[in-house]
């Protein structure tokens, strides 16, 4: 019985860590772009220069509406292609969260 074998990292931990890094990167990119773009074009402008795109002020359209759309598309790509499915396992038998298993064991014991 390999009790002293080198421990193998939980595969869910591995994939979750990888995905968390992607998510943090996405957040940083979105923050940098949106806050950066709006800082440049949304502050301290004169009303005469304002243009409208589909009725939105130009800086709102390019700085928020468009990246919002990109994020929706990316969340689909992320969730469908980058994120993996894993078996989450069962609640441990004999706890409040899995009392049926407790009952089964008691039956076996008897």
């Amino acid at each position: 019985m390999p009790t002293d074998a080198p421990r193998r990292e939980d595969p869910i931990l591995k994939s979750a860590r990888r995905e968390a890094v992607i998510v943090f990167a996405t957040w940083i990119v979105a923050l940098t772009y949106t806050v950066g773009y709006c800082a440049r074009y949304g502050y301290g402008r004169r009303a005469e220069d304002l243009r409208y795109i589909f009725g939105f002020p130009d800086w709102v359209f390019w700085g928020i509406v468009v990246p919002w759309g990109v994020c929706v598309v990316f969340s689909w790509i992320f969730a469908s292609l980058l994120m993996t499915d894993e078996d989450l396992g069962e609640d441990p038998p004999g706890t409040e969260a899995n009392p049926t298993a407790l009952a089964d064991e008691q039956i076996q014991d008897a």
Partner: protein, 642 residues
């Protein structure tokens, strides 16, 4: 008076339908809950949440956000869209960072509540207790604020006589015949009592307003009493005036009985399913409302063209027309950041430092929200987590951007709502754009019922979290570990009913600063739990002292900065939203950023300085499970004599 003083039948019908639907959902949930043990069923829905339930209920903010956001857009203009913009990534961050591991760890340790996670993962009952105390603290704040919102909406539907503006104080002071009789009996001079006659049976919102009126009437007396004498009488008169506002109290009772009722019947699942139901209703409501609002603006546009406006107006996109109208009525700042300053007091709603801060706030307050974490723990599988990411992505995009467009149309169609009444923009606009339509009143009722549903759902989910905190994390863990299932069940019902009673009593004198309280407890929970949750989930080296310090220092930094701002009055009061319950924005940044930084630094530092956790326990959460055929190295069976 902004809204006609008669029962709004359409709204009332819609609200009653909402309540009935929620009760029915409660009964359905009750049946589904009965499958497993009471605790897991009632507080965790037997870990059976599907994609839609998870997507639309786990990270969506409280009903307060939906009520407050349109008012902010109406008041400050397009900069508010930058304020909320981080919701573009909330679906990914809310589920993509903690989701899988939370679901996994909570199964490996059999956790039913969030404190269970802390307790089991670190083998420390004390840490679990600390977490549950913090949760109870923040959730209680949130709850009390939400009850007021629910009661106000109900009251408007009931009598149509008031607005749901947050900053409005509910009318409470009234001098009645009984009060006048008591004054006479207590020896107040007859001419003073007579002077009060014009005030009889009128409602006054605050004691200050009431006393001012009383003193105004006393000043008309001949000879007028001295100011000191008038003040003394005003106090005595206020003391015998009737402190009731029956429509508000009726609203409060109806709201409380229905929400506590269905939560009690169906527990966690009832909270989640009604939340899902109202989220879908909200979505439909917002999209229908958007079409109606744009139609309203287009009609205004036609009128202007008919009155001889230049041809360019006729060709203009309706939203652009609404923008131009709104800017005419306000000023160019309405279209830009840091936002329009309606009171011309020099307020900067969203300076760049706060725009930056809010990109953190929505993400991390969502990540550390106890109600959200429990829902992730309750998901059925990773497939559901994945799906809910893009479902929520689409949902958010089609809620927040249309709501902003609606509010801009609101500024064009109802340009002159007074400051302090801007929370009425949604109900008033709904009534305006549906008037004259077939079933218009009912349609506007449905639109208005959506925020009511949002508040109900929020209260319901907090009820479950608070009850599970008291019953599971305190009673079952520390008072009577051997308590039978039936005992816990009765106790849960008792706790929920008591919370309802307490909330009614505390809301008889309603809280002010509703939105500010919601923001405080939301960001407070984020400051307390974000870093500890990340450490719990990803960091093998995290220790109990490290976790305790991370929680305490995060919460402490938050409370400290609120103390400096709200109590000591540090900082610039013209920064951000107008409220007296405001934090000190150190270097212009929101307290949450400082709290996260302090929490991270101390949590990591103390963990590295203290002894690592027990390796057997760590292995359970960080190492792959051994195949079933081999005996797991860390199982109890391995230690048993053969």
């Amino acid at each position: 008076m902004l809204i006609a003083a008669q029962p709004a039948w359409g709204t009332l019908t819609a609200l009653v339908l909402f309540i009935l639907a929620s009760m029915w959902i409660g009964v359905l949930a009750n049946r589904a809950t009965r499958a497993g043990s009471f605790m897991k069923g009632f507080f965790l829905g037997n870990r059976g949440l599907g994609s839609w339930a998870l997507a639309l209920t786990a990270t969506v903010q409280s009903g307060g956000t939906f009520m407050g956001y349109p008012s902010l857009v109406y008041t400050h203009g397009w900069s508010v869209v930058l304020w909320i913009a981080a919701y573009m990534v909330v679906p990914i961050t809310g589920f993509g960072i903690l989701g899988k591991r939370l679901a996994e760890i909570s199964r490996r340790c059999g956790a039913i509540t969030m404190p269970d996670l802390f307790r089991e993962r670190f083998g420390s009952p004390g840490l679990g207790l600390l977490a549950s105390l913090f949760i109870l603290f923040y959730m209680s704040f949130m709850m009390v604020a939400q009850f007021k919102a629910g009661a106000l909406v109900m009251k408007i539907a009931w009598v149509g006589s008031d607005s749901w503006s947050e900053d409005q104080k509910v009318g409470r002071y009234r001098i009645t015949d009984g009060g006048i009789a008591r004054l006479t009996k207590e020896g107040v001079p007859a001419n003073v009592v007579a002077a009060l006659d014009p005030l009889k049976d009128q409602l006054y919102a605050t004691e200050i307003q009431f006393s001012e009126q009383v003193r105004g009437e006393l000043a008309k007396m001949k000879p007028a009493p001295s100011p000191e004498q008038a003040t003394a009488w005003a106090h005595r008169i206020a003391a015998v005036s009737e402190l009731t506002d029956w429509p508000y109290i009726t609203g409060l009772l109806v709201f409380t009985v229905s929400v506590v009722g269905y939560t009690l019947i169906g527990g966690f699942l009832a909270a989640v399913w009604t939340d899902l139901f109202q989220s879908v209703m909200m979505w439909v409501g917002v999209l229908v409302f958007l079409l109606l609002a744009l139609r309203g603006v287009a009609m205004l546009q036609h009128e202007e063209v008919a009155r001889g406006a230049p041809a360019v107006v006729a060709q203009m996109n309706s939203l652009e027309f609404a923008n131009r109208r709104a800017i005419e009525k306000t000023g160019p700042d309405f279209a830009f950041s840091p936002g329009y300053d309606g009171k011309h007091e020099g307020r900067s709603f969203l300076p760049l430092s706060l725009a930056f801060s809010f990109f953190w706030i929505w993400v991390f307050a969502g990540l550390g929200s106890p109600a959200g974490i429990v829902r992730i723990m309750a998901c059925r599988s990773t497939t559901n987590i994945r799906r809910s990411i893009y479902l929520l992505g689409v949902y958010n995009a089609f809620i927040y951007i249309p709501l902003a467009m609606i509010s801009i149309c609101g500024r064009a169609l109802l340009p002159d709502l007074p400051v302090g009444k801007t929370d009425d923009v949604i109900p008033m606009l709904a009534m305006k754009v549906t008037s004259g339509l077939p079933f218009g009143e009912f349609v506007s009722g449905l639109i208005l019922a959506a925020p009511f549903g949002a508040v109900m759902a929020t209260v319901s989910s907090y009820l479950v979290v608070i009850a599970s905190g008291l019953v599971r994390d305190v009673y079952q863990r520390f008072v009577r570990p051997a308590a039978a299932s039936r005992e816990l069940e009765l106790l849960s019902y008792g706790v929920m009913t008591s919370i309802g009673v307490i909330s009614v009593v505390t809301n008889l004198a309603p809280v002010d600063y509703l939105q500010a309280i919601v923001v405080f407890s939301g960001t407070g929970a984020g400051a307390t739990f974000c870093v500890p949750m990340l450490m719990l989930v990803f960091w093998r080296r995290a220790t109990v002292p490290g976790m305790v310090v991370a929680m305490l220092s995060g919460a402490g930094t938050m409370l400290g900065l609120y103390y400096l701002g709200a109590v000591l009055g540090w900082g610039d009061p013209l920064l951000g939203e107008a409220t007296r319950f405001r934090p000190y924005f150190l270097l212009g940044l929101d307290p949450l950023l400082w709290s996260l930084a302090v929490s991270l630094a101390t949590g990591v530092g103390v963990s590295l300085l203290t002894r690592t956790c027990d390796e057997t326990m760590l292995s359970k959460y960080f190492d792959a499970e051994e195949p079933v055929s081999g005996v797991p190295a860390n199982s109890v069976a391995a230690e048993m004599p053969a």
